[in-house]
Amino acid sequence: MYEQKHLVTPEAKQKSMLSERFIKPLKEILRQPLRLQSLRKVLDLLKEAPRVEQILTGSNSGIEAFENAKISVASESVTDFEHDSGLVQLGKELKYPSHFKYCEDVTEKLEKLDRNSEGTSESFWAIDRTSGVTFYMKTEQEEDKLRTELLADLIYRKMGIPVANKQLVIYGEKLWLASEELVDAKPCYLSELKKLSSQLREGFVLDALLANRDVFGLISNSNILEKDGVLYRVDNGSSFVHRGRHGKKKYSEVACPEIDSLRDEENTAGKVYTKVDSQVIKKQVQLITHVLNEETIRTLASSVYGQNSKIADVLVASLQGRIQYLYDRFVTGEGEKDLQRLASVSSLAETVQTEVKNIVAILTKATDQIIQFRQDHSAEFNEIRQQQHSPAEVLPDQDWMSSPIDVTTMKRWNLLRDLDEIIPKNEELDISQDANCTELISAKDAYFKALNEVKQELGEREVQFNAEEAVTRLTRNIEQESIGVNEELAAHVTGFEDLLKILKSGKLMSKAKQIQLTGQSQAKVTSKSSAEMHQVVFDRKKIRPEYSAPENVSKVPPVVFIVPSVHLLSSYQGMESDGWHAFGLNHNEQNNQLDDFSIDVGDSQLAILVPEEYMEQLRQHLKQFLKDSETIEGIEQRMQIAYMPRACYRDAESGRLLTSMDLIKAGSPLEQMYGLARSILPKNSFRRGRISRTGNLGHGSASWNKPLSRFFS
């Protein structure tokens, strides 16, 4: 029997949770000196106390959302949010009136106006017969583009960035976006925007977060309208995965590369945003982290996509991933610390480290020798200096043959010749670009400084080397490469017969490994030359259905194995050619230590996409693998198998099998396959790393005997 004191009522539990998670942290914050803005935020939280009480007794995500908000307030107590524009207050929600219900049929309500409508999509102007309000109506071939634009708008509004007042409506049985006219607003073109940049900058991080690359439009059109001094972002159609005009663009779910690209003057937005610095970004990211917690983003996404929408789930997760990236990089600085570590020699493979360290040693020795050389010949250097010859007289590109050669010139030439003896030859410093690191840059910096000092005295042209720029370039390249790898999925294609064999062996592995383990080449239909028998080829950014069957045999629908590139490259070695030729981690041809590629069926990082026309056949086959009370669906889930709709691999009309070219041209089957794989694969968080040589060679065909690389993170 339990004693009374061990009984905790649900009410008491809630109360203690509220106290631990809400009251105590707030009290801690209040005991420190606060700034006005932070105090206001504390009051905002207190006003939400009843809701917090509900959240804390409800879902975990609610608690996390609240924890995030709380941490954010704590961090703001030492951060001042001052805005350089009085017209826009970042963080203060903008509320607009609703003219229609969600997706209301307005066909009868609106009257088309005879007014020219600009823009790339199908559009017209209309007036609401009852209210007299005018709307700019636009629709797209892809409904999703209208929805993402509205979601972007709602996020801007939540953060206090002015946009047009838009709603999703039905007109003539189609989905349209009705945008309330901003009466008497003027378009702002790029030249004017530069002058108004301080107000626009308030929304810079949001533009980047939403990947709204065409936020300002192009030179000839304008997506910004000005009314009473306030600038409105009226066309946010280029947000998320969509391009401003048509089609889709690369959109990272784990990082936010637009934070750099939108500041690059090569791009339209960069002309306005070029001077936005890390401090401004940090403040905006802090505020965004505070306001846009998971719950808020989910609520906004549900208001556009409805409840339980998979697309909304993906968008919410992507926004969280992108916010986390920005937070790590600009607020905590963790991302930058990662980059510094990755830029160091210690992040390279051991054999490459040895190579780099040798070169650093050569450069350090040469630096010392140059300094010594300068000391040993100080008398001659002094003499040259006293002669005060103009350095221009002996520049190598001058016609020195015809100029008079005096004793000092002779001495200078002799010194140059002697100097040439001690400086390392170019081939001694030869190292491939990917082995660059901060230690090498520092060694080069010291070496060039010493060398330039002497060269200057001898009237020689100096070597231009900016160490700071070199480090920045290196770290930003590592960042860009990491983003690229994190975005990528790698795909290996085979046929249904092979799939059955792979399921039987429980592994997707190289031909050599198949023979080693099963006594025969069991799983690869496509004939492999013996030179390629230690690898499994994965394509990057494409899927090649042709590999479903060997040459000269009728093609069969493709079975696609998909692995995130980050996992592939950090767990195996890859030789890059048209894709990644994956080998085992210890695959080293030079010392005959061979370890081939092999991944288990059911590994969380491996998705298996099977053409739906094989579903019945495969399910019959899967019965032999059933464990205890497992269902067929259960085993499919365990083995991470999903069925591809016919549209992914067959032409809708003729039924012929799609080729690589079809997938590239049509675009959507490829995206559908990747989307399917992403829905199975776990959501990996952003991993920084660099693709670097391992020091081993891959042995494909002789012409492909290239160094193997790995993603070192």
Binding site: I23, L26, R31, L39, V42, L43, L46, K47
Partner: protein, 54 residues
């Protein structure tokens, strides 16, 4: 002379007292929210008066 910093400090103390009363069970979350709204008005009035004085 009363300045912005002093007002902020004073309000922090008031909120701390409210939270303590809540912990003792003397106030509900709804009452805390209502008090927060009143304090907000008071705070904004005080701050506004500083701005006007300037």
């Amino acid at each position: 002379m009363v300045n912005e910093e002093a007002v902020i400090k004073q309000i922090q103390t008031i909120i701390l007292r409210i939270l303590e009363r809540f912990e003792k069970g003397e106030l509900t979350t709804e009452q805390v929210a209502e008090l927060a709204k009143s304090i907000e008005v008071m705070l904004e009035n005080k701050i506004h008066s500083f701005v006007s004085d300037k």
